[in-house]
Every structure is written in structure tokens, then in C-alpha cells.
Amino acid sequence: MPGNLIEIRSVAKVYGRGDAAVHALSDVSLSVADGEFAAVVGPSGSGKSTLMHILGCLDIPSSGEYWFAGEDVSRMSESQLARVRNRRIGFVFQQFHLLPSLSAWRNVELPLLYRSAEQRRQAALDALGQVGLADRVNHRPTELSGGQQQRVAIARALVTNPDLILADEPTGNLDSNSSREVLAILRGLNEGGRTVVLITHDPNVAAIPRRVFTMSDGRLSEGVAA
């Protein structure tokens, strides 16, 4: 199916065995076309994080198929998954996950270390420029505000020029001003043609034209649940 970046068919994820088994995802199907902005909402414990791990190739489904950019990633080895993550996916986390001992541009450079890339510093500086932090490239994460740290993290997700930006509660640790800034950057990236999947319950996201999916008890449905 050309144009569909994400194609998930009847995916289930079960943790544990027997009586202790937890069905985190049951019969989830999802298609996201290239260039779309998809928001996944739902209460905590509904399986949002598990879905995000599968979408991000950080974990593989227990059953079902996951085709990402035309490749079947549900059968890949750990090293192959690492390659897909490095080439095609940019992650933005709620906790930022910046390395405190490295400066902003060194943090942004990190994903480029795991591929053969030339001029890594220039690429990192360009990405920081895109998120408006050209004047903070040598700052350590502890010298930056929460909003600035998340923008560094977005620059790190951008620097590899990925097919998909996968953001897991990116505004969960930010005040509303910073949240709006971060969402505006994500919206801008989407308008520039990049596919964005956002897992959130931030009401500010309503300002962005998007498809909305709701997770509830491990099941996914399109639209906002009543």
C-alpha cells in the first residue's frame, strides 16, 4: 500500500504467561500515511506506551504484523531494529533523555555516531538552528530550561532526517508556554511534510489539524472516545 508509512495489522502484545499474562495490546490495527499528523490519546494504563514502543521499533509485537516504510519489522533482529530506529525514526521523550555530561550539540550529534555520517557537527548545528537554539549549542542540559531541553531533544530527533517523528508525551513535563512552543515546532515539522505520531493528553494539541486515535484497555479506535 504505497504512501502508508505505518501499517499495523491485528497486533497484540502480551507480557508474562498463563494466569499472570497481561494483554497490553489486543487486535490493534492502524495505518498512518506519509505526511500525516496522528495523535494517540487515552488514560494511563490503556496501552499507549506499549503502542509507542512497537511503533518505534523498540519492542516487537507478540502477534500480528507491523510494516514500516514497506518493511516487515515485526520479525527483525535487535540489530536490524536498531538500524531502522537510527535511519527512519526520531524519538522525543517526556523525560527529554539528554546526556547531562554532553553539550547541546554533542547530544544532537548522538544518533549520527551510529551511522557513517560526515560533518556531524554542522548537521547538529543546523538541527539546533531549526528549533531556535542556535545560540545555545555549547550549553549543558542543566544550563537549559525544560522547554529548551525538549527543543534540543527535538533537534536530536531531526538530525537524521527521519521518516517518522515519534513523540511520547513531549509536553508532559513542561509548562503551558513551553508546551505550546514544542507543539508549534512539531506542527511546523509536519507542515514541512514529515510524519508525526504524538502520544499525548495535552489539550493544546487541539489547535493542530490531525487524526485522533483513542487507546482504551489495549484497544485502539479512531476518533475521541465518548
Partner: protein
């Protein structure tokens, strides 16, 4: 990820925790320094013992009167006078002792030597020309006295270089020893440093003259007899021949009652080197254990590091690091710590090796082998003890690792 970049990443990981990294290297540092310096001290003492003994000649057998156990009580009734010139003549017989090359009877005393300009107290030995062979010495200037000189009780003296220098004499000068004046006819070639008995500070005169003028006592008795075997392979048979001959000459039936003792330099040498080798191995093992403890320290710190950096590991995995990348990164960190500690240990050992002999009487000989081995072992220790923590890091599931805060 290329090896160079992995190395840089590992290095950055270490500089991020500077104090911890330095403390970890200390274990390896002292382990390596201890190994190198103990082996160095062992080597120095082994060298000095070996050279002291070897300089006496490995073909040498020494016959001393009496034995420590018999004390001469069963023998001639006096422990110091059981060896005679008759024994010497018997040992010289090629028929009875074919494996003995040279026989040098020795009488020895300590005397003051007086020259025109100076006086000097030293050991004066009376012997025969065979003394040169048994002691493995040569004459650098002039000549040694001859058998004819011995027979004619000639008042000639051959000096060691130290003695000659201190007396300020050269060939042809006259030196007064005790009541008599001697003419200097030869200077011995320098023998090198002998700390126990200085081989360059002595005077040698014909044994007959020594008995006349210096030692007194019976002209037939000698204090000890030096024997030289025809080669190092015949030392054993030379020993047997001398033993049988003296037992027969002294009319002693059982070897246990012998009124003389024969010692061979090669047996002393092998005993001494076995002792110093054992000591060196003992010291080096203790030091090696400290190196091992240092390695375990590296493992501990790396394990702490992996646990503490769980979220970093998860992040790196999310960004595309393969298990192999992380395995190499943490192995590199462990290896850098150990090699760095090893090199600093070498530096410390070299400094100690230069300073210790200057301020104490302990000699240290640092050779390249233990240095290379210690550094290689330190690197190996780092890799071996780094493998387990690195595997823990590589195996962490990315989602578990990301969840840790």
C-alpha cells in the same frame, strides 16, 4: 560505529565521571607498579648474587679444613691445620686426579702495606701460579710470579688495581709488607664490583714467601686449597677425585668423619639462584594479586556505571546503537581505564626504580619484559573484567532502560 568513534565515545563516558575514573585507575596503577618494582628488586638481587658467585669461577672447588659438624675433632686435632702441601702435591697428580686442571694452595692474612708515598691495609694471599686459573683472573700489567719464584721464596707481589692505586705504586716499585720488602711485578685485571670481598683490593705473593715472612706457622700447612676442574662438565668427577684422594691421604675410612670440606661454586650458584628466583616469584605473586584486585575494582566500577547509566544505555539504543556498539563502548571504557592505570603504574615504577636505589641500599633493575608483561596483563585484566558489565549493558532491553530514571 567505527572503532575510533567508539573509543572517543568511551573516552567521553569516562571524562564525564572524572573522579570515579581516576580512583578506578589507582587499583591498576599500584598493581602494575608493584609487579614491576618487585620483579625489578628480585632481578637486581639475583644478578648481584649470580655475578658475585660466577666471578669466582664456576669450575672452582674449594677445600677447607675441618667440617662444621666434625669440627676437626676426629681428624688432626686442630680444625685449621688439616690441609698440607702433601695434599696439594697429591691433587696435582694427573694419574690420580685427571679432571683437576689447577691446584692452588692458599694462606691468607691481613697486613698493612707501606709504599714510599702511602700505606694501605689489605688481604695478602700466598699462593702458586695456579691461583690465576682457579680464580679466573688475569694480569693486566707486568706478570704473575712463576713456579720458580715460589721455589726460590722470591719477594715479589702482584696487586689488585684498588690496592695499587691506593698505594700509588706501579711495576718495579717496592712495597713493605710486615718485616719484608717486596717488588711489585704485576697488576691484576680489574674484576668488577664484588661487594662481599673486593676482588680488586688484595695482594698475592708466592706461598713460600708468605709462610716465611707473613703468616708464620708450619711451612707445610695451608689454609685452603682452590681446585679448578678441566671444564664445567667435569666439576663432579673432579670433586670425587679430590674427595677420594684426601680421604686416602688422611687415612679416614668414612666420609662422615672427613676432616675437610669441599664446596663447589656451581652448586652454590644454582642454590643461590634457586633461592632468589623463588623469592622473586613469591614477591611477584603478591604483586600480581594486587593487580587482580585492581581488575576486580574495574569490574565493580563498570557494573556501577552500567547500573547508573541504564537510561543512557536505553537512549543510545533508541537512537540506533546496536548491542555490539554498547558492548564495545563499555569494553573500551574498561580497557582505557586499565591501560591508563597500567601506563601510570609503569611511570610510578620507573620513578621508584630511579629513586629507591638513590636513598636506600635496595637495588632495582627494571627490564623491558616485566614492563611489557605488566601492561599487557593490565589491559587483559580490564578486558576480562569489563566483559561482564559490558554484556549487561548490551543486553538491556531498550524500553526497560528508558523507563529507568
Amino acid at each position: 560505529m567505527s572503532l575510533l568513534r567508539t573509543f572517543q565515545t568511551g573516552l567521553r563516558g569516562l571524562t564525564g565521571h572524572r573522579l570515579r575514573s581516576i580512583l578506578t585507575t589507582l587499583g591498576i596503577l599500584f598493581g602494575v607498579a608493584a609487579v614491576i618494582s618487585t620483579v625489578g628488586i628480585g632481578k637486581a638481587s639475583a644478578d648481584s648474587v649470580t655475578s658475585r658467585i660466577a666471578s669466582l669461577g664456576t669450575n672452582l672447588l674449594t677445600i677447607s679444613p675441618g667440617s662444621t659438624f666434625a669440627g676437626g675433632v676426629f681428624g688432626g686435632g686442630g680444625s685449621a691445620n688439616t690441609l698440607t702441601m702433601d695434599d696439594v702435591r697429591g691433587l696435582r697428580s694427573k694419574d690420580n686426579a685427571p679432571d683437576i686442571q689447577a691446584v692452588a694452595p692458599v694462606v691468607q692474612t691481613r697486613k698493612s702495606l707501606v709504599s714510599i708515598s702511602s700505606n694501605w691495609s689489605t688481604s695478602v694471599q700466598g699462593s702458586t701460579p695456579d691461583w690465576l686459573i682457579t680464580n679466573a683472573r688475569t694480569v693486566s700489567q707486568g706478570s704473575f710470579f712463576t713456579n720458580a719464584d715460589v721455589a726460590s721464596h722470591k719477594q715479589s707481589v702482584v696487586l689488585g688495581t684498588t690496592t695499587a692505586t691506593n698505594l700509588g705504586v706501579s711495576i718495579g716499585d717496592s712495597v713493605t709488607i710486615g718485616p719484608a720488602a717486596f717488588q711489585v711485578i704485576g697488576i691484576l685485571t680489574q674484576s668488577g664490583g664484588l661487594a662481599f670481598q673486593n676482588g680488586d683490593d688484595l695482594a698475592v705473593v708466592p706461598i713460600t714467601t708468605a709462610q716465611d715472612e707473613l703468616t708464620g706457622g708450619s711451612p707445610n700447612s695451608v689454609q685452603r686449597v682452590l681446585l679448578s676442574a678441566t671444564s664445567s662438565g667435569t666439576v663432579g668427577s673432579a670433586y670425587q677425585e679430590a674427595d677420594q684422594l684426601l680421604l686416602a691421604t688422611h687415612h679416614i675410612n668414612t666420609a662422615a668423619n672427613a676432616d675437610f670440606t669441599i664446596t663447589s661454586q656451581s652448586s652454590v650458584l644454582s642454590t643461590a639462584s634457586a633461592v632468589t628466583n623463588t623469592l622473586t616469584i613469591l614477591l611477584a605473586s603478591v604483586a600480581a594479586i594486587s593487580l587482580l584486585v585492581g581488575g576486580i575494582g574495574v569490574m565493580n566500577i563498570m557494573l556501577v556505571s552500567v547500573t547508573e547509566r541504564t537510561s543512557e544505555i536505553g537512549l543510545r539504543k533508541a537512537l540506533g546503537a546496536t548491542p555490539g556498539d554498547l558492548l564495545r563502548q563499555f569494553l573500551f571504557e574498561a580497557a582505557i581505564l586499565s591501560v591508563l592505570g597500567g601506563l601510570m603504574g609503569v611511570a610510578l615504577a620507573l620513578v621508584a626504580g630511579a629513586l629507591v636505589p638513590r636513598f636506600t641500599s635496595i637495588a632495582v633493575t627494571i627490564t623491558p619484559e616485566p614492563v611489557l608483561i605488566a601492561v599487557a596483563v593490565a589491559a587483559a585484566v580490564g578486558l576480562v573484567f569489563g566483559v561482564y558489565p559490558a554484556m549487561r549493558a548490551a543486553r538491556l532491553a531498550p524500553i526497560e532502560a528508558l523507563r529507568a530514571e
